[in-house]
Amino acid sequence: MSNGTSGALAIPERVGATLLGIAGQAGGIAIMAGQILRRSAPWKVDRYEFIRNMYRMGVKSLPILAATAFFTGAIMVIQAAPLVIRYNARSFVGWSAIYTTFREIGPLLMALMFNGRVGANNTAELGTMAVTEQLDALRALAIDPIAYLVVPRAISIVIILTLLCVIGDFLAIVGAMGMASFMLDVNWMLFLNSSLPRLEVWDFAVGVIKAFLFGIMIALNSCYYGLSTSGGAPGVGRAVNASVVAAASGVFIADYLSTFIMD
């Protein structure tokens, strides 16, 4: 009888524990967001750390994100090609590729790539500092780890992903134009003349706003999981894994909500 009761309670117990865990992490991330905001006045941000992070997160991510954007544009054309050929809708191929890339696919894929490269690296770095007592060493030296480590990284991640999205949008157009010319014999004049008049600035802005929101998600999750790492080297691995999954989930939730609001 008692076994049956404990067995019946096991599932709600586990669900409850999982929900409490998620609530605890969400609360922790919210508190950290408040701490970041409190220390984000321009004159409080460590300029050296900010520039260093902008360089290594931005400049070093540019090649891989540029490739992602270029191929995203090209893939949009490849996907549309059978229908374009069947219905002889060559004048729509540019618009469809750019519209979907600007508003959805471009920022989403770039955010996921950025999360895998920069977000994971950020968590691993902060996690390693946590398990080797470097965060405690900063505090012992009267240096606030949030102000010194987290704020420059969080601001850099948000700015870099937004900028990379803008650059990526144009590279995606180049990729789409190249593929349209190669597969469908649509020259770049026809490609642009048939698409640009149908596009609005808002289509471009939606993608940039989304990239900004995705940047916030990646910044908060990667920093939170990095700072709360414990348990030595295996703990760093677990933290990176949790950070990448949580940030990707956050990106999809932000995407869903922002699409719902802005469309």
């Binding site: 080797t132 007592e133 060493a137 505090r139 012992a140 030296l141 009267a142 606030d144």
Partner: protein, 244 residues
């Protein structure tokens, strides 16, 4: 003076249970005890890196406990800290040692910082190591870099966590002598946590023994050796027979 009053701290189970002690000015205080006795946790609590559940810590008459990070930052300028695992940053040796000066004392010029770093390295018998990467150094060298960073601010309070752990006897004795000489020259108040009893007691003025989160002995080194407490007696002599 460092004063600790009735500190309790738990991480799921109790780690510190009613610890009280006083460390007078210019005293080298050794905290000894077996593993998992709560020694390092006590040291971190004194530095304000951990907040106790109850109890108070005062340094120079200022309460450390229950302040927020920004207030504690001011107090921590008075404290140097050597971590058990060095906790050196991913910077050159020179930048590691100069880090507190550059971050906390904006009025010190770069020339003076370089001079003080060179002096610290000379003192640690590591001259010319400024541009080396800490990852390329041995454990003993990393410890000495840690000591150099902990002492460069000339803070009146220095806390050392296991300064000789994992080092050979000669390097261990050198580091202990360095801790003693630094404390005497700078007239600083020092707490050293270590399991390396013989070497530690050779430089300490007073000694406290921790066991299961409690301070079971507090006295001079001579009193420790004469103690009738069976735990202290066994631990100090390293005997295998006894209550430990």
């Amino acid at each position: 003076m460092i004063k600790v009053h009735d500190i309790h701290l738990s991480f799921k189970k109790p780690v510190l249970r009613g610890v009280s002690l006083e460390v007078p000015h210019e005293c080298i205080y050794a905290v000894i005890g077996p593993g998992a006795a709560g020694k390092s946790v006590l040291l971190k609590t004194i530095a304000g890196l951990l907040t106790p559940d109850t109890g108070q810590v005062w340094i120079d008459g200022e309460e450390v406990t229950f302040h927020d990070e920004l207030k504690l930052a001011e107090l921590r300028k008075k404290i140097g800290y050597l971590f058990q695992n060095y906790a050196l940053f991913d910077k050159s040796v020179g930048d590691n040692i100069a880090f507190p000066l550059r971050r906390l004392f904006g009025n010190i010029g770069e020339d003076e910082i370089k001079e003080r770093v060179a002096e610290r390295l000379m003192r640690m018998s590591l001259p010319g190591f400024e541009d080396r990467n800490p990852n390329s150094l041995s454990g003993g060298q990393k410890k000495r870099i840690g000591v150099a960073r902990a002492t460069i601010m000339r803070a009146p309070y220095i806390l050392y966590d296991e300064p000789t752990a994992g080092l050979d006897p000669v390097t261990s004795q050198r580091i202990c002598n360095l801790i003693r000489d630094e404390a005497r020259e700078q007239r600083s108040t020092v707490i050293v946590v270590s399991s390396d009893i013989q070497r530690l007691l050779s430089i300490a003025d007073r000694v406290g023994m921790m066991l299961h989160g409690q301070l079971i002995f507090d006295g001079t080194v001579d009193e420790a050796f004469a103690s009738a407490n069976p735990y202290v007696h066994q631990f100090i002599r390293g005997e295998t027979e006894g209550p430990l």
